[in-house]
């Protein structure tokens, strides 16, 4: 009897330790932990921050300045590879940005409870990733100083943007997405800003006071906020899908071998989720490892859950990839055939195989095992590998596919130039923004965690103790 009871207690203790939602702390304590995670800045932070700032300054701003002054000749683009790593990076960063929306919107709509502690970490990636995507696409333009011509505004020339062009759709979609995701990041942040406002002094107090907008937590405020968040959660999902679909149409709408593929839309979306999830899990592992108190909030259960998602997405990606390959191959068009052959056997063939290994072989080999996928360092390494693989995928679609066209007299390889510092610059700037944000806004949506903890409890069904969730809304 006691044995049994002991066993049951043990199981319960185990469950509580495993699940954040069942392991509540006093709310004041939790708030304090989050505040401390922001305030706690070590010299190591400043060193890394300084290095990233230097890399961004050189890689992004200085190099970009050089490119604007000198022209795109300092990059590696040529005829026929008119688009190079800039577009690769654009697609890559938009892909990264998809994870935030996926986690905070889709998982929210479906009430997947494991999302709670890291929705904000993921949404921050969305916003900052989109910033890098924006940088990348503007870098790509030959006359970036005239980019306002792409905006619809009344003008004396009576000319409006060409809405026949996928790039115009892109602009609309990315604008919608970047605004939407930023607002969607901000709305759930308001209560946490209020919390932080109440617990800080000095400049932080001023900052949080401004950002909290005067939020108190009255019934009305909560209602408006909840309503808005629900609308956002539903509305931003189709926007997210549209963004990457439209990005894919930049390619699919072109009359080029290898590009005009009807499956590109969903293929790109799933590819975006693939890299996005990989990026989220990497960021979570870093946060967990470097920031104070984060081991409490982010636990192996979360890695396990995201790991499962990654596995599913990897399988879906493989399915779409094969689908695309199959149909292109079967079509038998001579240029497409040449291109497919070039992908595999050309000088960049290694990249094609590396892409498959990174995106399919490695994730499948590791993520099937619950223990492995609960191991933060391992699964985040897989996340990085997936991102490398997905970057390769975009590289294959953009510069490598552009090498082959219907005029063999012009085929030429692409050798990146200033794209490399610029690409590294965007990566550093992303990390820089993220680091700054991690010390300025609570990475953990405290109120959401607390709400979740309120809703969770253990329940006994016969002899088994299980986790139950009450639907509060």
């Amino acid at each position: 009897m006691t044995d049994h009871k002991n066993h049951a207690e043990h199981a319960e203790a185990h469950l509580r330790e495993k699940h954040l939602m069942l392991d509540p702390l006093p709310r004041g304590r939790m708030n304090e932990m989050v505040m401390e995670s922001m305030r706690h800045i070590t010299w190591k932070f400043w060193v890394v921050f300084g290095i990233l700032a230097a890399i961004s300054a050189y890689g992004l701003f200085y190099s970009w300045g050089v490119m604007i002054a000198e022209g795109l000749g300092v990059a590696g683009v040529n005829r026929p590879v008119y688009w190079g790593i800039f577009l690769v990076n654009t697609v890559f960063w938009i892909g990264i940005s998809h994870a935030g929306t996926f986690i905070s919107a889709i998982l929210r709509v479906f009430k997947a409870e494991f999302r709670r502690p890291f929705t904000r970490a993921a949404e921050l990636m969305t916003t900052f990733g989109l910033v890098q995507a924006g940088f990348s696409i503007f870098m790509h333009m030959g006359r970036v100083w005239l980019s306002y011509w792409l905006m619809p505004y009344p003008n004396q020339r009576l000319l409006w943007p060409n809405l026949h062009s996928p790039l115009s759709w892109d602009l609309l979609a990315i604008t919608t997405y970047i605004l939407g995701s930023t607002m969607y990041l901000f709305l759930p942040l308001i209560p946490d800003m209020a919390m932080a406002r109440d617990r800080s002094t000095g400049w932080r107090k001023t900052l949080y006071k401004i950002l909290a907008l005067g939020f108190r937590g009255t019934e009305g405020e909560w209602t408006h906020l909840r309503n808005a968040m629900n609308i956002f959660a539903f509305a931003i999902i189709p926007v997210m899908f549209s963004v990457h679909t439209i990005v894919s149409w930049d390619f699919a709408a072109a009359t080029r071998p290898g590009w005009s593929s009807t499956i590109f839309g969903p293929y790109f979306v799933i590819g975006a989720l693939h890299s996005g999830m990989g990026a989220v899990i990497t960021v979570l592992a870093i946060i967990r490892g470097t920031m104070k108190h984060m081991k409490y909030f982010i636990r192996p259960e979360h890695f396990d859950a995201i790991g499962k998602l990654m596995l599913i997405i990897s399988m879906t990606w493989a399915y779409f990839f094969f689908n695309d390959y199959m149909v292109q191959w079967y079509g038998g068009d001579k240029w497409t055939k040449q291109l497919l052959h070039f992908h595999e056997a050309g000088p960049m063939g290694w990249m094609w195989f590396a892409m498959l290994v990174c995106n399919v072989v490695i994730p499948w080999a590791i993520l099937w095992n619950p223990k492995w996928r609960s191991t933060p360092w391992l699964v985040s390494t897989v996340g990085i590998i997936i991102n490398v693989g997905m970057w390769f995928e975009r590289y294959i679609i953009v510069p490598i596919s552009l090498t082959i066209n219907r005029m063999p007299f012009t085929w030429r390889m692409y050798q990146p130039g200033i794209e490399i510092p610029l690409g590294i610059g965007t990566l550093a700037f992303f990390a820089l923004l993220y680091m700054a944000a991690s010390k300025l806004i609570p990475l953990i949506p405290v109120w959401e965690v607390q709400e979740g903890q309120m809703a969770h409890e253990l329940k006994k069904f016969g002899r088994e103790t299980v986790v139950t969730v009450s639907e509060l809304e």
Partner: protein
């Protein structure tokens, strides 16, 4: 409280405002940064913004095509062909188009300069986009320059004074000839690398042997049905490329006849060979044999007595010697024999061999067999230009060697050089540069700071062709006798002076027989005298009441030509009864590869300083801005050489290093390389770019005295270096490089 807002802050604020104003003013209408200078005296036929067109003659090569230059407000902006000019009928080649890049070249000689031999004439700047003027500053006045020339004319004995001139028979040549005739100075020598590569001496010598007249033959490609070309690169730089290209077009697409065929015999496919219906890669040196064998086979087909000239040749033996299959010879012979309009052309590398004269004779004999002399689609003598009584051939390489020997022997004390760049163009083994050391005074009239100008004591720059007066006799290419006219289309951009003017003025200064020889006010007076002599000629393209009107029309129409066919038929009487020595050529040097230098079709000998010519892809290899060595893929594979590998080409006379272009259409035992690059001076676009095959040439000549430039064998050594060639074509798309193995 308000005193806190101090005066100093106010000043700061005001400063900010001023800065803002400055920025805003900077945003004002662009017009405030534009200045417009009206004409002081508007030319009467000019309106603002409207083009004026001037007819003149192209000076990029010696062919003498008529141009019409579009100018706007004193600037020449476009070359167009002179549609009335009988030679080119409104067409131009790429070099003619780029002549403006010579006129406005960033590196020109900007005025009279005295300098130490070998000194640079412009700062070394290989940056093609560098905006700085870096030409040497003129350091003397024209008065001093004229005095220098006058002194040179009077200081030395007439026989110690030499003139070396460009290939074109132009007014300056006439002027110097007149001067020489009157004063006893050496007759001017005309030379040009193009003439060397075209083996003009061989052509006229062969004509002399076969037809008894040393004339420039004209091959009516357009009228023919079957054309056998033995190395003649007539679509590229040969004799008169625009005119021959027109002929080729009508060979292929005349309204009234069948599409004609072109068969090209050469070891390395030229751009002309690329257009041929059949390309026959024979072994270099066996052209004469092949021509004779075809003649024999064709005679057999035609029946009748075997002409003496073909009687001694054995086609089976020729097939094995030349590497051309007997069936191929028979097939071509049949085509030749059965055609109503058969034509055979000798030219190019085929003549630049030890047996070049035999090749020319054998090929001309083929024409005799075809009985096409003086008939449409056949061989003619080119019309003699108006006022010309005999064909004035430029100097052969052998004659140049004699000239150089005279220089070395100190027989020239003063040498005037105009329109030619012998330091670059002559074989390095002839050592023109070294010979210059034995000439006391070298005066160059170079427009551009070329290698020869750099070795001169004085450079008294002539105008660019588009800035100068003149006329030029058309040597070949047209059926009409043409005197092509030139006039300045723009005012001289720099402080240059026409060489003719310099000589006239200096002759006046020198006095005596010199002053008497050139009793003219200026160049134009001299020209008018020469041109108006044509007034009395009948059947001209225009006539006029007086010399002034005649000269005006001459300028307006871009020359004067007779309206009747001036071509004459060579006499065929003895052509088939010659004895042509059909032995294979001998090759100098140790190496295992035949070496075929050819003139770059886009650059030719003097185009390297024009940036757009540099950026034109070569018609066969599409290489830009460089020199390459063409090598058969099989050979390259055997030698483990890949494309862009730098190799060392060693001849008996010298060695050069250059990258390999693996060329699918060349014999495995042959390598080839273009002539035109490898300048050590000549402006920022030319200098230090590529190599000069003239560095490899030894002093061997054919029987007519032309250089046996293709009569060499060379060694190829690997260097282990790589130098990527800029090419327009894709290595992947055209050669499948880097596309991956086929499954």
């Amino acid at each position: 409280m308000s005193e806190k807002f101090s005066r100093r802050d106010f000043l700061k604020l005001a400063g900010m405002g001023a800065a803002t104003t400055a920025v805003l003013t900077g945003c004002g209408p662009a017009s405030r940064y534009v200045k417009r200078e009206p004409y002081q005296q508007m030319p009467e036929y000019n309106y603002n913004g409207q083009s004026t067109y001037y007819a003149t003659t192209c000076r990029e090569c010696a062919a003498g095509c008529g141009l019409v230059i579009r100018t706007i407000q004193g600037r020449a902006i476009k070359t167009e062909g002179n549609a009335n000019h009988p030679l080119n009928l409104g067409k131009t080649c790429a070099r003619g188009q780029a002549t403006l890049h010579g006129l406005y070249n960033p590196n020109r000689v900007r005025g009279p300069i005295k300098h130490a031999r070998g000194d640079r004439l412009y700062a070394k700047a290989n940056d093609p986009f560098n905006d700085n003027f870096d030409d040497a500053e003129p350091n003397m006045s024209w008065d001093e320059a004229l005095q220098t020339v006058a002194d040179a004319l009077t200081k030395y004995k007439p026989e110690e004074i030499g003139f070396l001139m460009g290939m074109a028979p132009d007014h300056l040549f006439d002027l110097v000839t007149d001067l020489a005739n009157a004063t006893g100075i050496n007759a001017p020598v005309r030379f040009g690398a193009l003439g060397m590569f075209e083996s003009r001496a061989t052509l006229s010598k062969a004509a002399e042997t076969l037809f008894g007249e040393a004339r420039m033959p004209f091959f009516d490609v357009g009228g023919a049905q079957v054309v056998l070309s033995f190395g003649a690169n007539f679509l590229e730089t040969w004799l008169s490329p625009v005119s021959y290209t027109r002929g080729f077009a009508s060979l292929r697409q005349a309204e009234t006849k069948m599409r004609g065929k072109l068969v090209q015999f050469e070891a390395r496919m030229s751009a002309t060979g690329g257009k041929a219906d059949e390309w026959v890669p024979l072994r270099p040196g066996t052209e004469a044999l092949v021509a004779l064998a075809i003649g024999r086979l064709a005679s057999e087909i035609r029946g009748g007595a075997m002409p003496r000239v073909f009687s001694s040749v054995d086609p089976i033996d020729v097939a094995s010697k030349s590497g051309v299959k007997l069936e191929a010879l028979e097939h071509i012979a049949a085509m030749f024999a059965n055609s109503t309009g058969a034509l055979a052309i000798p030219g190019g590398a085929a003549l630049g061999q030890s047996n070049g004269l035999a090749v020319a004779e054998a090929v001309l004999a083929l024409n005799a067999l075809a009985d096409n002399f003086g008939k449409p689609g056949g061989v003619y003598f080119s019309p003699l230009a108006p006022s010309q009584t005999e064909y004035q051939r430029p100097a052969s390489a052998k004659e140049m060697q004699d000239f150089v020997q005279k220089m070395k022997d100190g027989k020239f004390k003063a040498l005037f050089i105009h329109g030619v760049n012998p330091v670059f163009e002559l074989p390095a083994s002839m050592d023109f540069k070294g010979a210059l050391a034995n000439v006391e005074q070298v005066i160059s009239f170079a427009t551009f700071p070329d290698e020869t100008a750099a070795e001169a004591d004085f450079i008294f720059p002539d105008h660019h062709g588009l800035e100068s007066w003149g006329y030029q006799r058309v040597v070949t290419g047209s059926d009409l006798p043409v005197l092509s006219g030139a006039q300045p289309v723009v005012a001289p951009y720099y402080d240059t002076r026409a060489a003719a003017d310099v000589l006239i003025s200096a002759a006046q200064l020198a006095g005596g027989s010199f002053a008497q020889a050139l009793p003219f006010k200026d160049e134009v007076e001299f020209l008018r005298g020469k041109v108006s002599a044509l007034m009395g000629e009948a059947n001209g393209s225009f006539s006029a009441m007086d010399a002034v009107a005649f000269m005006a029309s001459f300028q307006q129409f871009g020359g004067w030509w007779k309206m009747s066919d001036g071509r004459t038929a060579p006499s065929a009487a003895d052509a088939l009864n010659q004895n042509v020595k059909g032995d294979a050529a001998e090759f100098a040097g140790e190496g295992e590869f035949f070496f075929i230098p050819f003139v770059s079709p886009t650059l030719a000998e003097a185009g390297a300083n024009k940036p757009w010519l540099q950026e034109l892809p070569d018609p066969t290899t599409t290489v830009m801005w460089n020199t390459w060595l063409e090598m058969n893929p099989e050979t390259a594979h055997e030698l483990h050489i890949e494309y862009d590998d730098v190799v060392r080409v060693v001849s008996e006379a010298g060695a050069v290093e250059l990258p390999v272009y693996v060329y699918p259409a060349i014999r495995p035992d042959t390598v080839a390389m273009p002539f035109g690059q490898g300048h050590t001076a000549y402006g920022r676009y030319a200098e230090g770019r590529g190599v000069n095959p003239a560095d490899l040439f030894g002093g061997h000549f054919n029987e007519a005295g032309d250089l046996a430039f293709a009569g060499m064998k060379v060694k190829i050594e690997k260097t282990g270096k790589k130098r990527p060639l800029s090419r327009l074509e894709s290595m992947m798309g055209v050669y499948g490089v880097g596309l991956g193995e086929e499954h």
